[in-house]
């Protein structure tokens, strides 16, 4: 896959995200769809542009602990987000 093809795929996914704005889905559904597209784009950037495809074993040594940290952060902060609705 050439770098231009990766860029074109990223641009198309960006346009797909923007097109979703026309749909006006419920926030939770919209968020799910947008996050799926965003992770796909982030994966393309990391895999091709950041050369993760050639350095995956070493990168995983660092990425996996950080992934657990991110998931931990999510669960640590989510209750505050849920409470925010009741605090208004």
């Amino acid at each position: 896959m050439s770098y231009v093809a990766v860029w074109a795929a990223l641009a198309l996914l960006t346009l797909a995200e923007a097109a979703l704005a026309w749909v006006h889905a419920a926030p939770a559904l919209m968020l799910t769809l947008l996050l799926a597209l965003s992770f796909a784009k982030a994966g393309l950037i990391a895999w091709w542009f950041m050369h993760l495809r050639t350095r995956l074993p070493k990168a995983l040594l660092f990425a996996i602990p950080m992934l657990f940290l991110c998931i931990g952060l999510l669960f640590a902060l989510l209750p505050d987000g849920i409470r925010a609705g009741a605090m208004r």
Binding site: Y3, V4, V6, W7, L10, A11, T14, L15, E17, A18, L20, A21, W22, H24, P27, A28, M30, L31, L34, L35, L37, S38, K41, A42, I45, A46, W48, F49, M50, H51, K58, A59, F62, A63, M66, L69, C70, L73, L74, L77, L78, D80, G81, I82, R83, A84, G85, R88
Partner: protein, 192 residues
Amino acid sequence: MGVSARTNPPGAKRLGMWLFVVSDLLTFATLLVVYTALRLATPDWPHPFTLSPAILYATGMTIVLLGSSLTMVWAVSAMEAHNRPRTVRWLLATIAGGTAFIVLHLAEWRHLLQVDHITPAASLFGAVFYAVTGLHMLHVAAGIVYLAVLTGGVARGRFTAEDVETGGLYWHFVDLVWMFVFPLIYLMAVRP
């Protein structure tokens, strides 16, 4: 005797940049997770962005930033091929893309502040919007300075392919973060 940069084992700089990228990613992840939790918990969240021109404009900014990642990866390839003049040209193109992104972003901020009256103090949305996009813009500006130093060095025969790749890692990281900022901040606040 001083420690020369040449004493670094191969891959050390790249590893250092990966560590920085992962740690900085946690900063943005925290901000965006907090933003998303607030957004979902607030039914009357403001929707200041119109499809045209606001979202089309932000989409254009995204394409410009993605374009600068493409020129960056070409700069890395040129340096690996020991073609310094071409590396300098692609690095300059990357700097131009980053500068264009900042100029477009500042114009957008100006419009939001002066026309739409969305200020950091006016609402929770304003505070989050300027905090997240401002931090990202600061990263882009730092990247431009980084790439400018790199370009000057490469033009003078300094730096290795690993140095350019390390700079590229930072630049792609800035691009990667925007891939989450654009949908979460802009597209989740589109006016129905």
